[in-house]
Symmetry: C2
Subunit: 433 residues, 2 copies
Amino acid sequence: MQVFDRHEVLDRKEIENLQAIRLKNTVHQATASTFYRNSLARASVKVPDINSHEDIARLPFTTKEDLREQYPFGFLAMPKEKMVRLHASSGTTGSPTVILHTQNDLNVWADLVARSMHCAGVRSSDVFQNMSGYGLFTGGLGIHYGAERLGCLTIPAGVGNSKRQIKMLGDYKVSVAHIIPSYALHLGSVFDDQGVDPRSMHLRIMLIGAEPHSEEIRSRIQEIYGVRAYNSYGLSEMNGPGVAFECEYQTGMHLWEDAYLAEIIDPETLEPVPQGQTGELVLTTLTREGMPILRYRTRDLTRFIPGECPCGRSHRRIDRITGRSDDMIVIKGVNIYPMQVEKILMSIPEVGQNYIIQLERQGHMDQMRVKVEIRDEFFVEDMRRLQQIQNKIAGLLREEILISPKIDLVEHNTLPQSQGKATRVVDKREEGK
Amino acid sequence: MQVFDRHEVLDRKEIENLQAIRLKNTVHQATASTFYRNSLARASVKVPDINSHEDIARLPFTTKEDLREQYPFGFLAMPKEKMVRLHASSGTTGSPTVILHTQNDLNVWADLVARSMHCAGVRSSDVFQNMSGYGLFTGGLGIHYGAERLGCLTIPAGVGNSKRQIKMLGDYKVSVAHIIPSYALHLGSVFDDQGVDPRSMHLRIMLIGAEPHSEEIRSRIQEIYGVRAYNSYGLSEMNGPGVAFECEYQTGMHLWEDAYLAEIIDPETLEPVPQGQTGELVLTTLTREGMPILRYRTRDLTRFIPGECPCGRSHRRIDRITGRSDDMIVIKGVNIYPMQVEKILMSIPEVGQNYIIQLERQGHMDQMRVKVEIRDEFFVEDMRRLQQIQNKIAGLLREEILISPKIDLVEHNTLPQSQGKATRVVDKREEGK
Ligand SMILES: [Zn+2]
Ligand SMILES: [Zn+2]
């Protein structure tokens, strides 16, 4: 059973001292890999140069392309025989990204996930249903090991089969669930179809992560299930879940600074953004021995939340991910992030649980079409009423994103429902060219 | 890293003494559960009565129906809060069977799987691809934890996506794979379709289990991949994989008698069969604390193999599972086990990698139809040649099972391919009634 971890309440100076020591160790460890031996030599960085957390700025960045080019084992800082776990991205295009772990790496990771879940109020007496894909995807095994470490009764439910998920939630009196936000909304409508009230379950906490989502989605999930929903952040290059997690105050995610050194940079200039401003999150592993990664460009956009958290944890909080530096849509010369669209849609009561942004080309003009599911009670035969809803959505979106997308209203459960991360943007502009 | 376990070479007397102590403990522990408190009282068995491994005969049997009736928690011998893992059968009909584990139970299970893999020649330096379904099914996580315990580089590949499985086998220089036998044959034909020789991989060992299969299937797998294939036995009620495993001599599966007390009974009389004869395997957990199970009727048919194994391990060996006491087919008054059909089919060189036994009714007559995939090189336009193959199969089957099934020859890859356990028998006799 996990208790409150003394590392959670180190003061700023202690964290920075620990980071300095661990950063030096990590750079030393990294030089054992083919990739970093070369890359650190090119950057003329030597281990004795690293004496403060601020010396991170001397190190070169690492990108997803670097990981791909070194596929599969060029980042290993220890012999392959010392590794006990391999995770890989699905790699639909090009080489997959491969991350390997020693037994010690897995232990540290499980501890971080256990700490994260504890931080969100999960306790060893909880019954925990893990609705994440197991296998090569890190969300499943990553959370699973942490939950067991914490001592929860862990149900490795995996993804899909919504009726069975609902049966398990009820039969086993599940109190905590880990679920992808878009799937949580979908599952809510399966509850409806079955005539079961999601609030009649024993759920008290939902851990939602693995895809960016708006505050409005969180509110909907809390409303549907009658739970507190906690935002989680992780990526497989940094192990997976357990990088940053919300505490009971839900005021941003504590990023575990004893395990990760975080920077927020301007993706163009690569310089740090001013304190509190949004930029690209860059992370360095501080405890990984098998495959350390320095200054990894996550492409995720966030900011540090200024000030102290009332919970007393000293680890700085990052804001929810507002998008990816590479998922910006440029349409009619305007920059738009999909999260801006979601935020508006999910604040409109008539809007159901699913939507898709479709980019099209008409002649030489780009155009955005937003397909929106409408709640059953509003999807009536009254064309005038539907027209009003359409106008309302179009108006609110125009205020936020400055262009006027086409709005298609569709019925509940008619848009494609993914069991993993939702596909929110479909770009059809290059079709038929 | 796992070393040769001293428990593997206990002499018979030591094993029996250990079993006596652990059986007494297990009965004591079991009385803490609702189910066994009642069932042991009804059988008038008290803990002080259990002083030898032979006292197992005093205990009542436990069946799958008992587990279902106590769904979900009636077998728990410790508070639910002490449990950290839940596994469940898919439960397509009726309640699922649920098995729960404490952290200590999981540790013991992982040790048994690590011992089993080591026994089959797997070492910590191996790269291990686990092609089992993860999640609620015990084959995935069960083998996974054991492989990590042993120190292998473990790839949680999961089921399906054959092209990706092949890419991983090659890219990561996988030396050991865990795979369902019917899927191993199917994957072999995907290799063929891709023009890749399975023998060009780095594979040296395949662990095959989770479905009964014949010696002929093992030979085919060894031939296709150029590996040694080791038979494994387990069932979720007894944790999952790690109950019995073959050693390098491939002369039956050592059943770990320090963890399971095994009996082989006549399924009709419920009395022990004479030494060396085939009957139903009955198992009692000897180390499980959260949910002990006494005299579980596995329905699996096997026998103890007489004599000593050349490897020096003292744990008795069971023969490959030849069927289930409830999967016997009765047709035209003759008793037939599907494994008899498989054995014959797989010994015929023209026969491909998949087959289905279909039971039909014509008027008042039952009839067996066997659909058999034929290797491409034999599936020619020459009707006379195909007729010869058909006659050969029919003749060999008649000799073994004493009736004459209809034989349908079909092309390679045309029968349904399951990614989990293969469905070998389809009973259409009750259709249209
Ligand atoms: Zn906090
Ligand atoms: Zn042996």
